[in-house]
């Protein structure tokens, strides 16, 4: 039976027809469909989305998809990574038609991300340490703390409540100030930066720490070393910890305009 759709992994800069072998989802044969100097990296599949009730199987598919993107990056340099389960209706000609129609857009994006990669930065801090810093710097809080130690139980309770609230607010604004400061140190070294208030995963060693900031950065290959130095300096500050991972394909930075 002829497979009437194409599962799309990424778009790369290459003009040659290459076989990547059986490295695709469920060992599908991955190959490229070229148009001019760009190409889509695909495997032939049925015109229906990948769907299963089996979680392990689904996770396996996602990892296989990720592996193909890594291999394509090794072969062709930075690629435009596609999300899981993007399946183009039709055969190789349909893929070629799309490449032809969207050529300017795709080639432009490939040029924009050429020689770059995505890196992920998470900055954690020791919350208790930050609080002691804030407390030490603020005379009003120091006075309040002293009055708690001298006061009766009931009064001490009210004062403690007041102190906790003030300390919490001040620590919160200090966190914001530090995040801004680190961001301004990182920003000049990267081509693009996206701030996120969350992270999908926290390694065990940072579990007790507070997440100060998460950044996704598009970084030129030659700027990675310098960025590493800046992050090292942050990591060396007492009470701060940096997790720096990559390089990844530019998942957070591909912008494709809608074509009619």
């Amino acid at each position: 039976m002829v497979k009437e759709a194409r599962y799309l992994y990424s778009v790369a800069r290459t003009g040659h027809e290459v076989m990547l072998g059986s490295i695709g989802i469920e060992k599908n044969n991955v190959y490229i469909v070229p148009y001019k100097d760009i190409a889509a990296i695909v495997h032939a599949c049925d015109a229906k989305p990948y769907k299963t009730e089996d979680k392990k199987l689904a996770e396996g598919w996602v990892l296989e998809h990720s592996y193909v993107i890594d291999q394509a990056t090794k072969m062709f340099g930075t690629v435009l990574p596609f999300s899981f389960d993007v399946i183009i209706k039709g055969n190789d000609d349909a893929v070629k038609d799309w490449l032809c129609r969207d050529y300017e857009n795709l080639a432009g994006e490939l040029l924009r991300v050429q020689g770059t990669a995505e890196y992920s930065i998470q900055i954690y801090c020791d919350h208790a340490y930050l609080e002691t810093l804030v407390l030490a710097k603020n005379q009003e809080l120091v006075d309040l703390k002293n009055r708690i130690e001298d006061g009766s139980k009931g009064k001490a309770y009210l004062l403690k409540r007041n102190l906790d609230m003030k300390l919490k607010n001040l620590t919160y604004s200090e966190t914001g100030r530090l995040a801004d400061q680190f961001c301004s140190e990182i920003k000049p070294l990267v081509k693009e930066l996206k701030v996120s208030g969350r992270t999908s995963w926290t390694p065990e060693k940072y579990k007790e720490k507070k997440l100060l900031a998460t950044y996704s950065c598009l970084v030129s290959d030659e700027a990675v070393k310098k960025l590493g130095e800046v992050l090292e300096a942050i990591n060396c500050k007492e009470g701060f910890f940096v997790r720096f991972t990559g390089p990844w394909a530019p998942f957070s930075f591909v912008r494709l305009q809608e074509t009619g």
């Binding site: 989305p49 009730e53 996120s196 990844w248 494709l256």
Partner: protein
């Protein structure tokens, strides 16, 4: 420092399911114009609340938050009852056909622990704070932080991103009650 190529499965899933380029619906497999890009997988792997946490449904979340904001309702309190602490969280609903995590605002008051849903204005769970005990549920999930609330009539499983703070607030509220009782006795 050098970047590490360390990535756990959750991060790979986050990248591949939530990020990366997509194409418009007329080119790709879709149903009624809705692209089927990993929709089923996202739902299955991540689960609804995780999708919120990961931001998959950020737009939905934003609009529902706006809806919450637009419909002002107030939590019914006893005379003299004060809200001491509140935080966003979930209650595990295991009864009935659908087992799910119900979102709402967890309130610790001077008398009770209440799960309040602002829209349409409904108390989903309440128990007197006195005689309430809490237990930490071991992490069965990378992200969710769960607690077991144990009260005389039964128990409930809840999930909070600010679990530590909630525990502290509860301990603090208990302490405050003790202090108040003592001062009332003195009077």
């Amino acid at each position: 420092m050098n970047p590490e190529r360390e990535s756990c499965l959750v991060e790979v899933l986050d990248r591949l399911l939530n990020k990366g380029a997509v194409l418009n619906a007329d080119l790709i497999i879709s149903v009624a114009g809705i692209p089927l890009i990993g929709v089923t997988l996202k739902a299955m792997i991540a689960g609804m609340e995780t999708m919120l946490e990961y931001g998959i449904m950020e737009d939905w979340d934003k609009s529902s938050r706006e809806l919450y904001a637009s419909q002002e309702t107030h939590i019914p309190l006893f005379p003299g009852e004060q809200i001491l602490y509140k935080t966003f969280g979930y209650l595990r609903e295991d009864e009935g056909l659908i087992k799910c995590w119900v979102p709402g605002i967890w309130n610790i008051t001077s008398q009770r622990v209440i799960l309040w849903v602002k829209t349409p204005g409904k108390v989903l769970f309440e128990t007197p704070r006195e005689e309430l005990r809490i237990l930490r549920v071991p992490a069965s999930h990378e992200v969710r932080k769960e607690l077991e609330l144990i009260y005389p009539e039964g128990s409930a499983r809840i999930s909070l991103s600010e679990r530590d703070e909630f525990e502290e607030a509860l301990a603090w509220a208990a302490e405050a009650t003790e202090v108040r009782k003592e001062s009332e006795l003195m009077l």
